[in-house]
């Protein structure tokens, strides 16, 4: 188990760095992170399943300027770990997937609050940097940036351990306690989550022409699913 958390922490620090501080090559997206966490905690497919749904949920919130969106990377760490752990013990029903996804919301909000704190501390680093530069020390810029990156990475490691730990606990302790009847209530909410993801995509891609295109494709694919079933 220690080794698994160590591995999670390494992946987590990379994902969190990619989120803001460095590169932005989308290694921090929920699909990638949840699948990776699924792999670490024993079930790639379980991780990918929750990751794919989570991927779209927060798309409507853009990281514009000083406005920080909910931390979907953190939510994916929690959800990926919880899904993988429960898949290898009691199996992963639609109800469990929904429960895991809904329970990941506090992680997203906590991650956002942590991000805000890191950026506040960075403010102090930046002002120290400016003071040293004033005295003629150009290396202070490199040191300041390194400090900022380290801070982002450290907070990433702490958040990863926290979220995956919570995920493992939920997957092991909480999910097995519920019977099939209560899970079916949650399972009924799963389509709403999928539609929430689709609505998130739709609302951030909204221009005049996308509305008919979106609804038309939706109806056509829906009909096609039925036709395929009848045909074969």
């Amino acid at each position: 188990m220690y080794f698994q958390f160590l591995l999670a922490a390494v992946i987590g620090s990379i994902a969190y760095l990619d989120r803001t501080a460095a590169f932005q090559v989308m290694l921090h997206r929920p699909l990638v992170v949840a699948t990776a966490m699924g792999a670490v905690f024993g079930n790639v497919f379980a991780g990918a399943q929750v990751g794919a749904i989570l991927e779209l949920l927060y798309l409507a919130r853009l990281p514009v300027g000083a406005s920080i969106p909910p931390d979907d990377t953190g939510a994916a760490m929690f959800a990926g770990a919880a899904a993988a752990v429960s898949a290898s013990s009691v199996g992963l029903s639609a109800g469990s997937i929904t429960a895991v996804l809904l329970l990941s919301v506090p992680c997203a909000e906590l991650g956002k609050a942590a991000d805000r704190q890191v950026r506040r501390i960075n403010g102090r680093i930046a002002s120290l940097t400016a003071e040293s530069v004033e005295k003629g020390d150009s290396h202070a810029v490199e040191q300041g940036l390194l400090a900022g990156v380290t801070l982002f990475a450290l907070s990433g490691v702490v958040l990863t351990l926290l979220f995956t730990g919570a995920g493992v606990v939920v997957g092991r302790q909480l999910l097995p306690r519920f019977g099939p009847a209560s899970k079916s209530f949650f399972a009924a909410l799963l389509p709403v989550l999928i539609l929430l993801g689709a609505a998130s995509v739709f609302s951030c891609t909204r221009i005049g022409r996308t509305a008919p295109v979106f609804y038309l494709t939706m109806a056509m694919v829906f009909a096609a699913t039925f036709l395929f079933r009848w045909a074969g």
């Binding site: 803001t20 460095a22 989308m26 290694l27 699909l31 699948t35 990918a48 399943q49 794919a52 991927e55 779209l56 949920l57 927060y58 300027g65 000083a66 909910p70 809904l102 919301v105 950026r119 960075n122 403010g123 930046a126 002002s127 940097t129 400016a130 530069v133 150009s138 810029v141 300041g144 940036l145 390194l146 400090a147 990156v149 209560s182 209530f185 799963l190 389509p191 989550l193 539609l195 929430l196 993801g197 689709a198 609505a199 998130s200 995509v201 739709f202 891609t205 909204r206 221009i207 996308t210 979106f214 609804y215 494709t217 939706m218 694919v221 829906f222 096609a224 699913t225 039925f226 079933r229």
Partner: protein
């Protein structure tokens, strides 16, 4: 004044990936920008430490733009610094140029990368993950980065040729048209994803007669959620609401 050599430019190119490394509320990307342009400044002002300090202070001023578009301004600022050192332009113009461009580039970049390319890559990934997880991840990363990395590179190279070339690049790349295209593709994929998953769910409940009603319900749900998003309700709030509903159902 000879141009900055290749090694210096390459190091500026590498460093711009850390533009947000010390993102803070007061100066936003200021430390990251100063860090990126530092090797070039050290080269340009190698015998004049006071000038180097002055130049660095200029670049530690407030700065913020979309990170992938930062390279354009970085390249152009680098060129301007060279010309300022040669006495061709006033060094105050560099700040004016950066401030003047960062908002517009931020808007272009936010609309293209966050508003169009990322949703397209995400939804492509989510759809293909239904086939196989690794296919989904590969699609997401490739769709995004095959557009993202070339734009970073082209933007930086155009910027380094001077501000006219930078603007030529912005106009020539047709970001507005690209943004619209990506948005439409994302909407099509999003619609297909919703349709496929709803179709599968409806089939689980059996009868074909109920299908049109089910579709109508799904469309209305999407519409309602879109309205909520436009009213600036956060996805977190909707998810928490669903969590409460689910918990109450289980309780009874």
């Amino acid at each position: 004044m000879e141009g900055t050599d290749k090694a210096v430019r390459r190091s500026a190119w590498r460093r711009q990936f850390l533009l947000q490394g010390c993102w803070n509320y007061e100066g936003m990307q200021n430390v990251g920008f100063a860090y990126s342009i530092l090797p070039a400044l050290r080269h340009i002002y190698r015998e004049k430490p006071e000038e180097l300090t002055k130049a660095l202070k200029r670049h530690l001023e407030y700065f913020n733009t979309q990170p992938a578009m930062g390279g354009v301004i970085l390249g152009a600022a680098l060129k301007l610094e060279e010309r300022a050192a040669a006495g061709e332009v006033d060094s105050r113009d560099i700040g004016t140029f950066k401030v003047g461009l960062m908002g517009s580039l931020g808007a272009i970049g936010d609309a293209y990368f966050w508003g169009a390319l990322r949703p397209m890559a995400s939804v492509a990934g989510a759809v293909l993950a239904l086939v196989h997880p690794f296919l989904g991840i590969a699609a997401l990363l490739l769709v995004y980065n095959l557009s993202h990395l070339p734009i970073r590179w082209k933007g930086f190279s155009a910027g380094i040729e001077g501000e006219e070339k930078a603007v030529e690049f912005l106009k020539g790349s047709g970001f507005a048209a690209k943004t619209e295209d990506r948005k439409i593709v994302a909407a099509i994929l999003g619609g297909a994803y919703a349709g496929a998953v709803c179709g599968k769910t409806a089939l689980m409940f059996g009868s074909g007669q109920a299908a049109p009603a089910f579709l109508l319900l799904a469309v209305l749900t999407v519409h309602l959620l879109t309205v909520l998003f436009r009213k600036a309700v956060s996805p977190s709030e909707i998810l928490l609401f669903l969590l409460i509903i689910g918990t109450l159902l289980v309780w009874h």
